[in-house]
Symmetry: D3
């Protein structure tokens, strides 16, 4: 990690179920923004796991992201789980209380953008990655159906999913619906 | 940060209201344990702030610890806010879901020890620092009464408390009781 | 407001997302019930906002209703936000604890009716307004698609929605799905 | 009830909305397992009632099961409501804290199985009853449409549903959607 | 109620257990502030009742305040129950979402002041009433001990407390501690 | 268990931390009430455990009571954990939804009595046992200080506390304060 004191800090949030190459692309792009010295990566819906939409725990997602970014040589970031509060009117205050001071919010989500702008944050929109190809929903379906998902995620993410028996977990979740 | 894959990971939890030299001493000692390659530092009662017992937000406490450890050249750790669940029977599962895999728990708290041992974790007790001198309660009282608290915390912690108007915040909290 | 002591008090609940002419018609009809001297208007799902189904905060909905009723010269009512409790078995007790004493419940909803009747309340069913024309869902869709929604709500409601940038809020909510 | 001390205790969980002949068949089969001396019957989603999917309160479901098992001469069981916790990562700990010590888990649900196996429980899969014929969803639909549902539940369950005005309750729930 | 559109709106919050002459004095003073056309009176800890510290429901407190203000000829106010959120970091957002737009906050509480000032609200401090004489704690004790409490509250408040059997409720609460 | 259909059912609630001879005396007395054919024994604060005030889980308390009553030959009861709801205004509805239909409430607690009477329940007050001698607080202190507690609880309760390492658990809880 680098020195903090006069650093500008970016903020990005996702569910990362799982962390994929599209997410990595966005983080790389933000890291190239000269105004962003450090990045807060917030892991949304941190309390949820073992569902079809959110199969992995926050801890497992932290491991995925940490390993993937280590491979990239990226280390100037904070990785912070954010539990859902389910009330958008207080959501920005909730996030703000859990993370270090935010200077720039990076998001392509219209609601996230609106909520932070209403609180006078500086919001930037990173270039969109190919959402057709890189999509958590699609990757989870490919995992369930033994499709070609490994090339869509960083190699270390595939390793972790295997280590935690994540493929079978997803298949069990389909069966128990 | 260092490579993760075969690393052994320690776990330590505190409220860090604020982070003081006693906490730092414990972290240094754990870092000297040859069995611990990486440390998960969990910030307890993460949802609480602006009370006499818990004046600082989780985000503020993350900044304190990050800056203090940077000064020490320590960077092989995860810094993770943990919201209270107020049910000890599920507490270990709650923590486990929010952090990367834990190999060794470091704690001097009898209840934390018991809860992790009941779940078959490897628990170690770091040497106790001088609790008479280094105590969150005492430091908060010294801040309120303009006492000599700065020498009890890392320099960067004192700077952050000043930057966030923390001294006046504590004085307001006393008045509003 | 009028004198309370021997007054009979009615109760009506809705989400009012937004308050429209159908709602106004029901309130006018209840006000014409000679047995109802004062009306408690409860704003349901008070904690929700910034979703497609519930775009407006409770505070915004209070402003809508207050302004619309002022225009009508209606002032003998209480306007009370009621947060969801998500357990119908305790819902009547929940509502009862948040509002002044209820004498008559006005509702066309079969579940609300059943829950209050099971607790021995006097329940009356106001005449149904044209639900084809006046529907929150339909009005929200018209707002999103720049349709003809303004004639379906009181003029002051349209003004407030514009003042709080409500049209763009709804469009952002569609985009962020 | 029989003596507890060296008894082996089974565990089974369901929503029982309502308790039907398929459920009874599973309980009879478990009772025939020579390794199971006592059975913990957990009533899931205990806090929910008065919805189309979960029309009956936990208390009503307890009455249904108690009466049905009395008729069968089965009395070596515990009947325990379990409120949802909505976080699968802590769910086993939650259940464990609410019921007496579990020796064997009986379940056909892939997720329940996985969650208990991950915590090293002994899990067995009872023979599946005819899910086409015995299904809570189907029975609730038959009740709403005045279909032939009574032969699908124990006689005492039909009596209780009638006593608590359950048929009309379900019809009201359909209307208020 | 008066016309809203260009009106300036004040905000005051209390638990009002019960509403007493000190509270009334503050409201009268705020009403005399030429900058305040309408007042939002928020009823804090709205979800609590039947405890020694908070004996009355939000609905009962609404009745108390409404009757007392009616007697004073005051009618330009909103009376809004606010449920505790127990997280000061999001508390202002929580309140803001439940009430109409606030222009001026009136408070003597150091924490409330700090929280609103941190969100850039205009905060004013009304003159303090005699807290020795007018205190909820003291009034509740006088009620329990058959002391001289009636002169400390508006007459209509004493009437309501009697109507709802509030004196015996408080005595029961003492006994059940 | 006995036949339910025309049976009268009593209700009693306690925290049972732990279940002691005073509790047993009350249950025996209720069982002697000719109007009470079956007893619902509700275990309050069911979600709490591992604290000095509430050391045992609901499941452990169920085992204690079940074993103690078995020894007494008592078997016509329901044993139901009730999670705290922390809002007395809805508490009776909460309890009612979790247990079979209640005919008579047995309680010496003034608040419980008041809450059920306000909902028109038939409430009876069992004769008080010697609260000086039989007190959960006192028994927990005796356990911690190796005092003479075993004669104050049924023998099977002492056995269970020993089996679950409850003595050391309480001692750890004291140390971790």
């Amino acid at each position: 990690m680098i020195e903090e004191l006069d650093n500008m800090r970016g903020f990005v949030i996702g569910r990362y179920q799982p962390f994929h190459n599209g997410h990595l692309e966005v983080i790389r792009e933000i890291m190239n923004d000269v105004d962003c010295d450090e990045l807060i990566i917030a892991i949304g819906s941190a309390q949820v796991s073992h569902t079809l939409k959110d199969p992995f725990t926050a801890g497992e997602r932290i491991s995925m992201i940490y390993n993937a970014l280590s491979k990239e040589g990226i280390d100037n970031y904070f990785l912070i789980p954010v539990i859902d509060i389910n009330r958008y009117a207080v959501w920005v205050s909730h996030v703000k209380s859990l993370v270090p001071k935010i200077d720039i919010v990076y998001t392509n989500n219209a609601l996230t953008k609106r909520l932070f702008i209403e609180r006078n944050y500086n919001v930037r929109t990173p270039k969109l990655y190919d959402r057709e190809q890189y999509s958590g929903t699609k990757i989870r379906e490919l995992i369930i159906n033994d499709g070609a998902w490994k090339q869509l995620v960083p190699e270390s993410v595939a390793t972790i999913i295997k280590d935690i028996d994540g493929i079978q977990r997803l298949k069990d979740l389909v069966k128990s619906q």
